[in-house]
Symmetry: C2
Subunit: 219 residues, 2 copies
DNA sequence: TCAAGTACTGACATTGTTGTCAATATAAAT
DNA sequence: ATTTATATTGACAACAATGTCAGTACTTGA
């Protein structure tokens, strides 16, 4: 039992092997690990000690980089939002002169559902975080804007009247809702009705076709 | 400082005022409080002590009725599923001879989104619970079944060919996904684009119309 | 080579939460 | 009234999670 009795901080002579990263690297590593745990185990899997163990550091290191657990969560939010925004806008900004919604739908679902982003954001919303004005607000607005512009181009090309702005907004909302919904209940639902991965793909295409028809019919 | 030192369990003579409910009543009360907290504060608001305080009991009482926290959660799942199933099936089973999807859509969104059910179920799904075979599985199956039957009736009435079963399934999936999505991100999204309560209603109607058109057009 | 800045660590403090237990009060049955 | 069953409670145990801190080791710049 060795009554060591390290009365007043006996430093215990550590070995000396230690990995030291740049602050940025460390932050990225930690965020990745946190995201992974969140995706796999849900909200309750976000424990500093676990995350730390995952990447082989001590949990105070996380506190060092993010101040507090709350800080880590906020950083997660910020990154998820940024990633989402990028993916979506670059997808919409590409040079498709054809107005095929299935491309967009595919991208949206991919960005939100297939990757864990939607689950992450959902959790954050469910916990009442992410109520900042600057977060989701702008993203959605920008996307609707981009979509509307595209529809107007398309309409002009066909010599039809410009589409209703609210209609565009609703299309975007439906897509967003559906993608979020699918990210959460999709797998369970698909399983429940005996849909395999290919069936899910068929569903997405079906949805895209539905929107396409509406797109064409409306203008 | 009164060194009372109640060495070996000195019963402390309690006053004697105590509310005693039937087990069933107590369980219901607890579940209601839990659901409320879950809806208001999210997953992390589900603490036995808080729930107990909300309804003026001690937290061991909850343990007494549900064995453990896990038990409480499972009971929540079960009840939410049952409620959802009832609402949906009675809504679909009503005697609408007209095939107006907006009724259904309204019911679905109401059952899932307006009430906190979807948020609750989402959280349960996100935490990796509710993977039981018997839960969501049957519900979704039954609903699709009911919908398909209705479509077939409608088709027969119009002398058209019976609709594709997978098409019905996809309509149901889209609705479910959209409703779940709206329950989670709906408010934020609506706020982001400046939609008020009336706008949300318009969105739902728009969606119903979209489905109705598809319903009619497909057959 | 020395100094300064800082990423990182182990040990500990603190707090909060679930769960246990013996004791108590209350409703129902006899 | 007495007994029986059980809903309920206060006190405590056990544990887990965040956060603090002094000290250590690595990197960079002079």
């Amino acid at each position: 039992m060795s009554t060591v009795a390290k009365t007043a901080a006996s430093p215990a002579k550590t070995t000396g092997k230690r990995i030291r990263r740049t602050a940025e690297e460390a932050r990225r590593l930690i965020l990745d690990a946190a995201e992974e745990r969140l995706a796999r185990q849900g909200p309750e899997g976000l424990r500093l000690q676990d995350i730390a163990r995952d990447i082989g550091i001590s949990h105070p290191a996380i506190l060092h980089h993010f101040e507090s657990r709350e800080g880590l969560v906020r950083a997660l939010i910020a990154r998820a939002n940024a990633q989402l925004r990028d993916t979506m806008l670059t997808a919409l900004g590409g040079e498709h002169t054809k107005a095929d919604a299935s491309d967009h739908i595919g991208h949206v679902f991919e960005a939100l559902s297939d990757r864990g982003t939607a689950r992450l954001l959902s959790w954050l919303l469910l916990t009442g975080r992410a109520t900042e004005k600057s977060d989701a607000h702008n993203v959605m607005g920008e996307i609707v804007e981009a979509l509307q512009k595209r529809r107007e181009e398309y309409a002009a090309l066909k010599g039809k009247p410009a589409p209703d702005r609210e209609d565009t907004l609703f299309m975007a909302m439906l897509t967003a809702n559906a993608a979020f919904g699918e990210a959460i209940v999709g797998r369970q639902l698909a399983e429940a009705v005996g849909l395999d991965a290919d069936g899910i793909k068929r569903f997405r295409n079906w949805f895209a076709k539905l929107l396409n028809e509406h797109w064409d019919g409306e203008q």
